[in-house]
Amino acid sequence: MNLVTISGPPSSGKTSVILKTAAALMSRGLAVGVVKFDCLYTDDDELYRKAGIPVKKGLSGQLCPDHYFVSNIEAVADWGKKSGLDLLISESAGLCNRCSPYISGIKAVCVIDNLSGINTPKKIGPMLKMADIVVITKGDIVSQAEREVFASRVNAVNPGAVIMHINGLTGQGSYELSTLLYSVEAGFATLKGMKLRFSMPSALCSYCLGETRIGEEHQLGNVRKIDLHEEEPHAAQ
């Protein structure tokens, strides 16, 4: 079985891209399944079911969604294998822009859209910078110039990635993406022992443990203070 992790900011078009791409894969006779990770709510699983795609969903609730992902991905991969899938696609929203759970040796795709603004590539962390493939959506509603500027900004923060333009409505470009997602050589036996591409953010403070009161005396553990000096050392230009 192959596994591909697809992530991207909310509403960037991940589900549309996956639905169109899965259709192209299924027309080649491949068994495709999806696991959808989200935070509080999703009904995307219904869309996958309607398209005849086996799907599981996981809601992280009050836990950090990326920690939740990494604690569950092994079991989900086992489910995919047991179900006889050729390709399992994991879909997760990058909620804090700091990270998304890419695994070394497992293909990683980041989906972002042209409407999010040209400074967005700069704002997104490893989720964009460490992806193997960056899919840019919603190109049909912005000018050619903005598409080119956006793609060049993506290239600047992740020069090694393959950048693809996909129209989630018509599916233009999704067949092409599908050819990059599955290969016999990319099959693996188990995720056990594999590693994340980068560490999860460190966050263990009193608020992680249920504290609700505001004030210095209630803050314990890993706490950082905002820099209110006149000159910011790392201010963006």
Binding site: R98, Q144, A145, E148, P159, V162, E176, A236
Partner: protein, 341 residues
Amino acid sequence: MLHSDDIAGLAVADLLARFPFMEAFFRDNGIVTAGRERIRLADLIGEREAEDRGTDGNRLAAQAAEYINRMLAFLGEGEQVTRITILPGRDKSGQPEGFETLEIRTSEIISIVGPTGSGKSRLLADIEWVAQADTPTGRRVLINGAPPDPKWRFSSADKLVAQLSQNMNFVMDLSVREFVALHAESRMIRDADSVVERIIAQANELAGEPFTPETAITALSGGQSRALMIADTAILSKSPIILIDEIENAGIDRQRALALLLSEEKIVLMATHDPVLALMADRRLVIKNGGIASVVETTEQERSILSELRALDAQVLEYRARLRRGERLDTAKEGKEAVHA
């Protein structure tokens, strides 16, 4: 090919001196270099910052090397695309397409006709992906008569097709000048100021109503926006093929717009059912059931219809201009006759 070890030890100042375009790399990655010119590339990201960003100096050096290699390839004199060739595949029922080989050269206009869902998007995607019998249609696309370089698929700077379609908008909050300058910068244009001036002047030629470089792009009218998009794409986009999905006949001189694209050595593909545009093409592709059913040459007789249609078109534009000036349409024209192109 540059490797990260070749540059990791270089000071920022030396790196910028050798590769001036690295300024954009640092800026787009949110890395401040002012006052840090003597610091080595590998030391630019401190430990704390590395954790925050989920990256470190070595990775930055590797990314910088990759970026420099790509930029050098981009700035090098690439092969000029002068023709593309499409070799037939199959339609949705598996029937062979209705043409032998289709060769399209620069400064040629091809129109694409057929109902929605007939396979226009697939054709375009085949061209964009330079299909090699590896898409559902089985078509093959050649560039300058030969199988294509993989860069046409995978390099973000070398895209074969630029697209202009009806429902496109400007979403940035910039003036016309700032906007075009930003695009010019991303294309690494040397003489950016004069190119920007030229684009704005051309766009004003195409638009019914003039606008200034200081106008906000979001405040442009539909016609002005299209005029700016076309002038900008014609002059600044590196893509040799321009796909146009209908140009609405409002507030823009469409014949001039096409003439501008052709003068910039582009191959123009136009999905349209507007007879004025369709007949301006040298040939038209008839798409049915997912395949190209036939390739129709525009005949002399069809062209004679075109001149009638153009006269009508000019008449409508003239009426529009008079309405805009506050004149009446039922009285004799003042001044010179309407220009019939």
